[in-house]
């Protein structure tokens, strides 16, 4: 029950304190979702492994193509910009992240990653939504968790609170620039409402206040760093600018789509990874310029990796375990976690996972966001020493 939040006179937005105080949110988390199932084996390539080349006679990346970072592993050539971060100790890569009884459907596996459930359960709230529900500090701000999109992902939906969706600040402001609805909010007697109506009024009032706030914040600082001229690149630019403007947002959520590479994977994946890496590099650079990077952690995941064996169309089909990237200015242990995937010990042609994705969530929730990881994830998970 949101009794407490409903007791707040809804029409003076509960977020007013945040608006006036406007202090930096301390540690900031940026989640980057690679949608469609990024092929982890051609992202971090085991370029000395014969089994890899046997399974991918045409799709395998040759040792001369990959950006070698260890005796065993190298980056996809699209990740040149990320290699720089790796060399500076700003990147951790967790190999073989997954969960028991993996599901190979995009929808289902994305739900599992976004809710933080096991594959046997059907949860209707996201892991970050439940973080908002957990009475975390500053959570009353609707934009405490902000998704850069017109609609909100399940990951940011909680039972009583949800994150905030914003495609473009101008558009958000225009959508909410409705004098009639503003007048209605002002004129309504909050005690006259039934609980559900009261909830709608609260979301409406919060949205109006947030739209104005975020629009104003988006005008505070213009980054001079060169971000990719793509929707994803511009989303990251927006994130960099909002963080620099001292916005009271603690979690940012951004997606890059197109990784469902069943056909002619090589050029498409390389192009997408390049867009990803150059966007992230620019983001890091922008934050560093303003001495903010120590406060930022970037989590990158995809709903699954792909099968070890390439298919007949020079692509790959849906698989299981995958690598997860953590980028930040305060990593405790940069570099690789877990050995490179074992390509001989497979589960029906797919990689076995070595780390549960909820261990990563638990670590971020507990050690970075200082929240009750056990309660939010409804179970105990191993903390990984990356932060």
């Amino acid at each position: 029950m949101a009794t407490t939040s409903l007791m707040v006179p809804s029409f003076l937005p509960a977020s007013l304190g945040g608006l006036l105080g406007g202090s930096r949110s301390g540690k900031i988390l940026i989640v980057i979702q690679l949608s469609g199932g990024n092929d982890g084996l051609n992202t971090i390539v085991p370029y000395r492994n014969d089994v890899y080349y046997q399974n991918r006679p045409r799709l395998g990346l040759q040792p001369s193509e990959v950006l070698q970072v260890s005796d065993e592993l190298g980056f996809n050539p699209g990740l040149e910009a990320l290699r720089g971060l790796y060399d500076k100790g700003l990147l951790s890569i967790v190999n073989s992240v997954g969960y028991p009884n993996p599901d190979r459907s995009h929808f289902r596996s994305m739900d599992i990653w976004q809710t933080g459930s096991g594959s046997e359960a059907n949860w209707s709230t996201g892991w970050l939504g439940r973080y908002l529900d957990s009475e975390c500090e500053g959570c009353v701000n609707p934009y405490h968790a902000l998704e850069l999109d017109d609609s909100l992902s399940l990951a940011l939906k909680g039972r009583e609170r949800s994150g905030f969706a914003m495609g473009k600040p101008e558009q958000l402001r225009r959508t909410n620039d409705n004098a009639f609805l503003k007048a209605v909010v002002q004129a309504s007697d909050s005690h006259g409402h039934e609980e559900q109506v009261s909830y709608l009024y609260k979301v409406m009032a919060d949205t109006q206040a947030s739209a104005d706030y975020l629009y104003a914040q988006s005008k505070v600082y213009q980054s001079k760093v060169d971000f990719p001229q793509t929707p994803f690149g511009q989303d990251l630019k927006q994130v960099a600018e909002l963080i620099t403007a001292d916005t009271a947002t603690k979690v940012y959520y951004v997606s890059l789509t197109g990784f469902d590479t069943h056909v002619n994977q090589k050029s498409r994946q390389e192009r997408l990874l390049k867009e990803y890496a150059e966007g992230v590099k620019a983001l890091v650079e922008g934050l560093k310029q303003n001495n903010l990077f120590e406060d930022v952690l970037i989590l990158t995941f995809s709903e699954f990796g792909r099968r070890v064996k390439q298919n007949a169309s020079n692509g790959t089909d849906h698989g299981t375990a995958n690598n997860v990237f953590l980028i930040g200015g305060s990593l405790a242990r940069p570099g690789f976690f877990n050995a490179a995937p074992d390509l001989l010990d497979l589960d029906e042609g797919d990689l076995k996972y070595q780390a549960d994705f909820r261990d990563i969530y638990a670590t971020i929730l507990g050690k970075w966001l200082e929240a009750d990881a056990g309660g939010i994830l409804q179970g105990t998970h191993n903390m990984l020493p990356f932060i």
Binding site: F107, P142, D150, L152, E160, F164, V197, V203, T257
Partner: protein, 457 residues
């Protein structure tokens, strides 16, 4: 009339202005009878055009791809058609609403128009019949069999997915069975499969004919025996009754009422029609605390708007866009537990889309909204900027026939809003056109439909 409106919002998608006129002077009993009569005389759903490729086991990759593409397109048609049926007073609103309930209950994602249509036909066939018949038909429904992997349920390697959801979500609910019961039930459903043409097929060589012990009884049970054993449990009647109560009456459950309803449901051998009649003929259903307290689902909202304004979309892609933008796409529930409903429909983006939608339809404002990309999408999709539609406001305006201009607000508010606003109506004067009666009424309607209160039913 208030009671009839409540009935029509819960058993259907609200009254169209014409229906509202017709129902003036009708008794509540006549209204209930009319709903049941219409549901009984339902016009069958039309099958989507069949794919040109005939599915078979030895298709080439190219044929398979082509077929998948055609099935996807035909699924889009099924999604549009169903929403149009919900929106059109020509069809039985009660049948559409009851089917929508069962679709959310037996939540199923499909990528095939053929299979989605088959399942919809099955749901409609049993929507008001015996719950047991419906469960059995769903257990043999190819879309469900594929969604819950029952084709992979083989005696040598049972797949428990269907058996688990059957008990947890479709019939008895958590807490009334053991993990062992699931394992045994899964064995009973081995071999319940579907062939490439999408027809239910029993595969004897995959079926486990051995003895199973389920709910303490032992026998060589098959799937229908398991369903019967589940139906013997009173907890099953209660689980379903409670869910129907939450959906049709109130999310805040009166457990005593549910107890007595579920006893009746059990004793009637799970007669769904009879249960619905009891609810709609009861006095408590019409008590004020049950009126206007449910947040409309996206489909309920959109169907209601189309009915009220007689909306015709110039490009019917809008019917899909609205499902996606507002978060309820037919045959694509979030997971097998269905749409959680209530507050979960609402976030800043969906609420503002809901509140602004009547304005978009009246073409008072342009917008820009990008729905999330399908996971298979190669690149980011484009934002939609307009919903082009024609409206026929004549029937709506007839509600004002004989009403003096100063009472337009009351007349429209009582027709359009199930939850009464908590602000002084004089506010409206500043936000409505003050010219002709028509202009005034038109802007009044769009304002009322833009209120949070309009989201309630």
């Amino acid at each position: 009339m208030e009671k009839i409106q409540h009935l029509y919002w819960r058993a259907g998608f609200g009254l169209s202005p014409r229906e509202w006129k017709e129902m003036q002077g009708a008794s509540l009993q006549q209204a209930v009878d009319r709903l049941f009569r219409e549901a009984g005389a339902d016009i069958p759903v039309e099958a989507p055009p069949p794919p040109s490729e005939r599915p078979s086991r030895n298709m080439s990759e190219a044929q398979k791809k082509k077929l998948q593409g055609q099935e996807r397109e035909s699924l889009t048609e099924v999604r549009k058609d169903w929403l149009l049926r919900m929106s059109n007073p020509r069809y039985s609103a009660f049948m559409e609403r009851m089917s929508l309930f069962w679709h959310g209950h037996f939540a199923c994602q499909s990528f095939s128009g053929t299979l989605a249509f088959q399942q919809l036909r099955t749901i409609r066939k049993y929507a008001f019949g015996r719950f047991g018949d419906l469960v059995l038909a769903i257990a043999q429904d190819p879309a469900m069999i594929r969604y819950l992997n029952n084709q992979q349920n083989h005696k040598d390697k049972p797949n428990e997915n269907f058996a688990r959801e059957l008990m947890e979500l479709f019939t008895i609910g958590r807490g009334h069975y053991t993990e062992q019961d699931i394992k045994e039930a899964a064995r009973a459903f081995t071999g319940w499969s579907s062939n490439p043409q999408g027809i239910y097929t029993f595969r004897p060589q995959a079926h486990d004919y051995g003895a199973k012990t389920f709910f303490g009884k032992t026998g060589a049970f098959d799937g229908s025996d398991i369903i019967n054993l589940i139906l013997e449990r009173r907890e099953t009647a209660r689980f379903i009754t409670r869910k129907i109560y939450r959906y049709f009456v109130n999310e805040k459950v009166d457990e005593g009422l549910v107890d007595s309803l579920s006893r009746q449901f059990y004793d009637s051998e799970y007669d769904i029609g009879q249960l619905m009649r009891t609810i709609f003929e009861s006095g408590w259903f019409y008590e004020p605390h049950n009126i206007g307290v449910k947040i409309k689902s996206p489909l309920e909202l959109v169907a209601g708007i189309i009915r009220t304004l007689d909306v015709r979309f110039i490009d019917d892609k809008a019917l899909i866009f609205l499902q996606r933008a507002l978060g309820q796409v037919l045959y694509n529930p979030p997971n097998v537990a269905g749409w959680p409903g209530g507050k979960s429909w609402i976030d800043n983006a969906t609420l503002m889309m809901r509140l602004n939608l009547p304005g978009y339809l009246f073409q008072l404002s342009e917008f820009s909204f990008r729905v999330k990309d399908e996971p298979e999408a190669a690149q980011q999709g484009k934002a939609l900027r307009r919903i082009d539609a024609t409206l026929d406001l004549e029937p709506l305006m007839q509600i004002l026939e004989g009403v003096p201009r100063e009472s337009y607000y009351d007349a429209f508010a009582s027709f359009l809003l199930q939850a009464k606003p908590a602000f002084n109506p004089s506010l409206m004067a500043r936000y409505t056109a003050q010219g002709s009666n028509w202009d005034f009424a038109r802007t009044l309607a769009v304002r009322l439909m833009s209120l949070p209160e309009y989201q309630m039913c």
